[in-house]
C-alpha cells in the first residue's frame, strides 16, 4: 500500500540532539561539514571520528537505522573509491598491472575519502532523523529571516513548505481511496505495457488533481477566515528557544574545528 511510504526519515525521540533548537541544528550540521572537510591528517580524522561518534550517541538514533541510510549511496562510494585508487599519483608504488598503478598515497587517500563521504552522510542524516519536517521548515524560516530585509518572501516560502508537507499524507490517503474505487469498477493497473498502464492511471489522476484544488481552495478560505495575512506581525504557538544544549554543541564544534586546524598545521601532509 502507498501508506507504507514514510515521509522524510524523522525518528521520534527525546535525546539531547532532538531537543536542540532546529536553527542551531542546521548551523551545527554546517559546522560538522566544515569539520569533516578540513580534516587533513590522521590525528584530525581521529578528532572527526570522535565528534561524529558523540553526535550519534547523543542523537539516540539506533546505529542500525543510521547505517541503513548509508546503503543507498554505497555504489557512489565504491565508484569514487575506485577512481581515487587508480588515479592518485605518489612515490611509493604498492601494485602495478599494465597501466594500473596503485600507490601508497592512493590507498590512504582513498580510505580517508570513503570515511569522509560516510561521515558527511551521517552528519546530514542525523539532522533529518532528529528534526521533524515541520520543525525543519520552522527553523529554516527563522534562520533565513535576515533575508527579509532584501525583500525575499521567507515566511511565504516556509508556509508553502509546511502546507506541502502537511498535505502529503492526506493526498496519499486520497490516492489510495481513488485507486480502490476505480479498481472496484474493474480498472486494471497491473497488466499491459507501459503506455497502457500510464493510461490506466488517468482515472486516478483526474479526481486526485480535482480534489487537490478543492482542498487548496478550502484551506485558503479557512486561512482567510482566521485572518491570515502573511508573516508580518505573526507570533508563534511554539517558539523555539536556544538553550544550553545549543551553546554547548556550538562550542564543541568550534573547538573541534580549531583543534583540527591546529593539528593540520602542526603535522602537515601526514597520513
Amino acid at each position: 500500500m502507498l501508506k507504507d511510504i514514510t515521509l522524510g526519515q524523522y525518528f521520534p525521540g527525546d535525546s539531547f540532539i532532538h531537543k536542540m533548537d532546529p536553527r542551531f541544528k542546521m548551523i551545527g550540521t554546517a559546522g560538522l561539514i566544515a569539520v569533516i572537510f578540513s580534516a587533513g591528517n590522521v590525528y584530525s580524522y581521529l578528532v572527526v571520528t570522535a565528534l561524529i561518534a558523540a553526535c550519534m550517541r547523543f542523537s539516540g538514533v539506533p546505529l542500525k537505522i543510521i547505517l541503513r541510510g548509508i546503503r543507498p549511496i554505497l555504489m557512489l562510494i565504491l565508484i569514487t573509491a575506485i577512481f581515487n585508487l587508480f588515479y592518485t599519483s605518489g612515490e611509493v608504488v604498492v601494485f602495478r598491472l599494465g597501466f594500473i598503478t596503485v600507490t601508497r598515497e592512493g590507498l590512504i587517500g582513498t580510505f580517508f575519502m570513503m570515511l569522509r563521504i560516510v561521515y558527511l552522510v551521517i552528519a546530514t542524516s542525523l539532522m533529518t532523523y532528529t528534526t521533524s519536517p515541520i520543525q525543519l521548515t520552522d527553523g529554516l524560516e527563522r534562520l533565513l529571516s535576515p533575508l527579509k530585509l532584501l525583500r525575499v518572501p521567507v515566511h511565504e516560502f516556509a508556509m508553502m513548505m509546511t502546507i506541502a508537507l502537511r498535505f502529503i499524507p492526506t493526498l496519499i490517503d486520497e490516492t489510495d481511496k481513488i485507486i480502490s474505487a476505480q479498481k472496484a469498477r474493474g480498472a486494471d493497473f497491473d497488466t499491459g505495457g507501459l503506455y497502457k498502464r500510464a493510461k490506466a492511471y488517468l482515472p486516478v489522476l483526474v479526481p486526485l488533481i480535482i480534489s487537490a484544488f478543492r482542498r487548496a481552495e478550502e484551506l485558503a478560505v479557512a486561512m482567510e477566515c482566521r485572518c491570515y495575512r502573511g508573516g508580518e506581525g505573526r507570533t508563534r504557538l511554539r517558539t523555539v528557544r536556544a538553550g544550553y544544549r545549543d551553546a554547548l554543541s556550538m562550542l564543541l564544534i568550534a573547538a573541534c574545528l580549531l583543534l583540527i586546524i591546529f593539528l593540520n598545521i602542526r603535522w602537515p601532509g601526514l597520513y
Binding site: K177, A184, R185, G186, D188, I210
Partner: protein, 288 residues
C-alpha cells in the same frame, strides 16, 4: 450467496501500528437480501466490505461467493469485482470523465462489453438512479452534489453486480437527495432481486429499507438478525454506543407510561398504524 468464514484482517501486522480491524467474522448473506451494516466509526465496516470484492486480502479466513473462495484463483478476482459492485463513501469524488455517459460506461467498458451493450447498460443505470438521459452529454462536474452522487452510483450499477454494496450512500446529502437515493435503491432491489448492502449511521434509514441488520463492534459481528430482532435489543445497541430509531424510542416510553402499544415499531408508517390500532382497542378512536 456471500459467505464469510472466520474472516479476520490485521493492518500493519508485526509493527507497533498493528490493528485488528476485522476479528473472526463468520456469516452468510443470502441472495436478494437488503442488508444494513451499522457500527461505530472504526468498528471495521469499511474494512469488511473491502473484502467482499477482493480489494483487501483476508489475513485469515475466507470469503466465498456461491461456495467458491474468491482468492482461490487470482486471475478470476478481476471478474469478482464485476459481480460485487462496491460504491465507496463520497463516490462523486471519483468521477473523472468528460461526460456523464463516459463515466458510467467506465465499468462496463472494463468488462469488455461491446459499444451497444455499454449503451444499454448506461441508460438502464441512469433509469435506476432516476437521472434523465438529457444529462448524459453533460460534464459530471457541472451537476449538483446529489446528481453527482447518483452518477457515481450508476457507474457501479451499470456493471449489473449481483451484490451491490454502498458505503454511506446518503452521507452529506440534503433530506430530499437522501430520500431520492434510498427510494431508487429500494426500487432497484425490488426490480432486480439482487443483494443490496448499505452501510449507514442513520437508524431510520436502516429501518426503512433493510430486511436484516449486521451490527459491528470492535471488528466483531455483534448482532446479525432481522431489523425487528436487532432493534428490539435497544439495551445491547446502546451498550455498543449505537441508537435505535427515534420513533421506537417514543414507543418504548409510551409503553413505560402505561399505554398498551407494541414497541417493535421502527418507521413512522408503522407508528401511525400502531397508534390507530391501540386507539381502536381502547375505544377512544372517536376522540382523536
Amino acid at each position: 450467496m456471500l459467505t464469510l468464514e472466520r474472516l479476520s484482517h490485521i493492518y500493519s501486522p508485526g509493527t507497533p501500528f498493528e490493528h485488528k480491524a476485522v476479528d473472526d467474522i463468520s456469516l452468510t448473506i443470502e441472495d436478494g437480501l437488503f442488508l444494513g451494516l451499522i457500527g461505530h466509526t472504526g468498528s471495521g465496516k469499511s474494512t469488511l466490505i473491502k473484502h467482499f470484492n477482493g480489494l483487501l486480502k483476508p489475513t485469515s479466513g475466507r470469503v466465498l461467493i456461491d461456495g467458491e473462495d474468491i482468492w482461490a484463483d487470482k486471475r478470476r478476482l478481476h471478474k469478482i469485482r464485476f459481480s460485487v459492485g462496491l460504491v465507496f463513501q463520497y463516490p462523486e469524488h471519483q468521477l473523472f470523465e468528460e461526460t456523464v455517459y463516459k463515466d458510467i460506461a467506465f465499468g462496463p467498458r472494463n468488462m469488455g462489453l461491446s459499444a451497444e451493450e455499454c449503451d444499454g447498460r448506461v441508460r438502464e443505470a441512469l433509469r435506476f438512479v432516476g437521472l434523465s438521459e438529457e444529462l448524459m452529454e453533460k460534464s459530471p462536474f457541472e451537476l449538483s452534489g446529489g446528481q453527482k452522487r447518483r452518477v457515481a452510483i450508476a457507474g457501479v450499477i451499470a456493471m449489473r453486480p449481483r451484490i451491490l454494496v454502498l458505503d454511506e450512500p446518503t452521507a452529506g446529502l440534503d433530506p430530499k437527495g437522501r430520500d431520492d437515493i434510498l427510494a431508487h435503491l429500494k426500487a432497484y432491489h425490488a426490480e432486480n432481486r439482487s443483494t443490496v448492502i448499505i452501510v449507514s449511521h442513520d437508524m431510520e434509514e436502516i429501518a426503512r429499507c433493510c430486511q436484516k441488520v449486521l451490527v459491528m463492534a470492535r471488528g466483531k459481528a455483534a448482532l446479525y438478525d432481522t431489523v425487528e430482532n436487532v432493534f428490539r435489543q435497544s439495551d445491547k445497541l446502546k451498550a455498543i454506543g449505537l441508537d435505535i430509531p427515534q420513533i421506537t424510542e417514543v414507543f418504548i416510553k409510551l409503553r413505560a407510561r402505561g399505554f398498551s402499544v407494541d414497541t417493535s415499531v421502527f418507521t413512522t408508517e408503522q407508528a401511525a398504524a400502531e397508534i390507530l390500532r391501540a386507539l381502536r382497542e381502547t375505544g377512544e378512536g372517536r376522540t382523536c
